[in-house]
Amino acid sequence: MPQNETIKELGLDEYKYDFVTDDKPVFRAVPGLSEEIVRQISAHKEEPEWMLEFRLKAYEIYESKPMPEWGGDLSTLEATLDNIYFYLKPQDQMERSWDDVPQEIKDTFDKLGIPEAERKALAGVGAQYESEMVYHSLKEQWEEQGVIFDSIEDGLRNHPDLFKQYFATVIPQADNKFSALNSAVWSGGSFVYIPKGVKVEIPLQAYFRVNSERMGQFERTLIIVDEGADAHYVEGCTAPVYTTESFHSGVIEIIVKKGGNFRYTTIQNWSNNMYNLVTQRAMVHEDAKMEWLDGNLGSKLTMKYPSCYLVGEGAHGEILSIAYAGDGQHQDTGGKVVHAAPHTTSQITSKSISRGEGRASYRGLCKVYDGALDAKSNVECDALLLDETSRTDTYPYIEIDENTASIGHEATVSKVGDEQIFYLMSRGLDEAEAMAMIVRGFIEPVAKELPLEYAIELNRLIELEMEGSVG
């Protein structure tokens, strides 16, 4: 990691790497990370002093923590980190032209049947004015009820007290190496507040957000669902994200207060050269319900374990996860539930598919603390293997300190049965169609929970990924 970068060098690099021919000054840090860069990011965002201190402390923690030795192969990550930009001002990403988008991704858009305007938005190259207009009225409706749906930077600027009260309370800087990294350099993400008793019936969608900036590499999202409120948040795109970035490390913090109800849906389809290391966790209070719906299709390596900390009596947590590991990919995903209050319940359902030399791992935790009377948890993991070279792993941790708990875990691994394929082919399908149909059936329990347009796209994506997998 480059150390003691001088201002002069910073200046030089600014020209060297600044290819945007625009009269607006575009800020871009030098590759690699240093305290100076952390200070620059904070200064650039005109943040209050406490946030700068928070970032610097996080940077210190990040430097002191060793690289994790479990999970996926992170051996080349250190070198990758030295070469990436830890902060890019969002504008310059948006000003890439449609011509820069690789042909294969354009083809995928065509196959998915996504309209031109949406395509450009999804690829991060188009202006989002079209959608702004469409969703403008919705925004007003939410605002009347007191709903806040801002970028994380605006959240800090416009609602400093609310922000400070909850920020980093669910995932502290020192939680793990990558949450520390994110805490030091976070940029972009959403700030959401749903007031008491308000039910937002339409999913809040990250890319519909008015004034939205494209998600950065280190997005930070903070969501507060107040007592009795109800909402569904959808994050990310179902289409392949055009990105040259090679590292993504987000932190998502969610607080669901008494009687609240919240669902977070995310479908990740990063490009296949990407490390995706995300910490996402929800604090679930009395009688509240939290659901994570987590889809992982892209990236080189994903390590992501959505968590529910059930801290109030009667809290319920649910994690539905689906992972697709194509050739050369490693999806190390799963879920964590921590039962820290009586009568809490949870359910984890994980479905994974491995193809080619892909590897899908389920890694999960079910922890019941002493005193969490009558906690109930059930975990089910199913893995499907499509090729001789595919690999699947299951690593559940079940730690129970309470004798009244009732905990179950089950996992199965299988391949697509020849007789199933044979049957479908006898009904007139070709082999690839038959295979795709069986895979769709396998993920059905998760897909049916998605909003319709996402479910359709997920199915089509799986179909595209499956092309050429037979014969």
Partner: protein, 444 residues
């Protein structure tokens, strides 16, 4: 261990592991000594496992200072007579084909049915085996490579081996009754290390039951135990250990079973005694058609801690393995189950199952289950399941309505819970012996 004992121990036979001195006091065949030395060299290079090592995350052995214990020195004082206490137990436990008795880690008695000896069956101490069959020891014991996390205790086990036996069953020979062994501890503060080397030739069949017994000991005492079980084509083995050590003892058992073409192995670990009991059980399926059944049950009370670490390693296609581990805990007892099914590339048509069930009977008890899978072949059927819970309230209520106290009803249900595992042991005599031991422990 308090300071005064620690000071006393430095004057003991091995002040802080003077291995050269330890080795010089041994009189034994050269291959055994050179194997010890090699193991000692490796041992000296390795760190003791701490809770930072994933495999030892839930079991803390830092409280045991192995190097302050007195290692048992291997003696060869074979007694023709069966020790009285063992004779007492054997009189109640039916037929047997042979007996091995250890006292404080040293073999004191070996006997084998004459008819079997005439048929070519070998049952002898490891020292004798080292003299007469050094090549067997070399390939079947000294070349065993445990996983990195287990290597420290494994190399210590080999370096300070205090006793052991070889059972060699020639092709086609079937033992009509089990071999029964007794590992008894009497001296507090000892570190013993015993090994069971079992070689089953083609189509040979045998059952072995090993018992580990002691009173409560008032000083930290450690028993290291290893078992290497080799089954050639179509051979069959039933290998059972019943651990009933008293308080004050820590027991570490490392068991490796290898099954070739169409061989069938059954291992069964019963954990009832000791403060800390760890069993590392590995089953490798090397030949098509091989079959491994791995069974265990444990009942923990007071502050007992049980740790079970298992591996079902499928290296060959068409093999089958099935694991069923059940534990019940009361008082402040705790347990860990960490199991792995590993299916290698090319091990197609594997059938592998793994089940761990835990009953928590008291508020202070806690259990951890980590059933893992690593699958690198695609045409497989693998599943695992783990549950942690209480005894069924309806069943409890029914039994209490028939006049049993809550405690009686609960214990009866635990006994029933264990019976599912016991029922899978083919040999009735062995089953009865284990039932007796469980009854005694849970106080039915």
């Amino acid at each position: 261990m308090n300071n005064t004992t620690a000071a006393a121990r430095t004057d003991a036979v091995l002040p802080k592991w003077n291995f050269a001195q330890f080795a010089s006091e041994l009189t034994e065949p050269a291959p055994l000594t050179s194997a010890r030395k090699a193991a000692w060299k490796r041992y000296s290079e390795l760190p003791f496992p701490t809770r930072k090592v994933e495999e030892w995350r839930y079991t803390d052995i830092s409280t045991i200072d192995f190097e302050l214990l007195t290692p048992a020195i291997r003696t060869e004082e074979i007694d023709e007579e069966l020790p009285a206490d063992v004779r007492e137990i054997l009189s109640q436990s039916g037929d047997r084909a042979g007996v091995v008795v250890y006292q404080d880690g040293c073999v004191v008695h070996v006997e084998l049915d004459q008819v079997l000896a005439d048929a070519g069956v070998i049952l002898c101490s490891l020292a004798q085996a080292a003299e007469n069959h050094p090549e067997l020891l070399q390939q079947a014991l000294f070349e065993t490579r445990p996983s990195t996390a287990e290597e420290k205790l494994w190399t210590l086990h080999l370096a300070i081996l205090s006793g052991g036996y070889l059972l060699h069953v020639p092709p086609g020979v079937e033992l009509p009754a089990p071999i029964h062994t007794f590992n008894t501890l009497k001296t507090p503060g000892l570190l013993t290390s015993t090994h069971s080397l079992i070689m089953m030739e083609k189509s040979a069949r045998a059952a072995v039951i090993e018992e580990f017994i002691s009173e409560d000991l008032d000083e930290q005492t450690v028993s290291l135990h290893g078992a290497s079980v080799h089954c050639k084509d179509s051979a069959g083995i039933e290998y059972v250990t019943v651990q009933q050590y008293g308080r004050g003892v820590a027991h570490f058992s490392t068991q490796h079973t290898v099954a070739h073409h169409n061989a069938k192995s059954i291992t069964f670990n019963v954990g009832l005694g000791a403060d800390l009991s760890r069993a590392d059980v590995t089953s490798r399926l090397l030949g098509p058609g091989s079959d491994s059944e791995m069974l265990a049950l444990w009942f923990g009370d007071a502050q007992q801690h049980f740790d079970h670490h298992t591996l079902q390693h499928h290296k060959a296609p068409h093999a089958h393995s099935d694991l069923l581990f059940k534990g019940a805990l009361t008082d402040k007892a705790s347990s860990v189950f960490r199991g792995l099914i590993q299916v290698d590339v090319g091990a197609q048509l594997t059938d592998a199952y793994q089940t761990n069930r835990n009953l928590l009977l008291s508020e202070g008890s806690h259990a951890t289950a980590l059933p893992n899978l690593e699958i690198e072949a695609d045409d497989v059927r693998c599943s695992h399941g783990a549950t942690i819970g209480q005894v069924d309230n309806t069943q409890l209520f029914y039994l209490m309505s028939r006049g049993l106290t809550q405690r009686q009803a609960e214990r009866l249900l635990v006994f029933g819970f264990f019976d599912e595992v016991l029922g899978r042991l083919p040999m009735a005599g062995v089953r009865e012996r284990i039932r007796g031991a469980i009854e005694e422990k849970i106080g039915l």
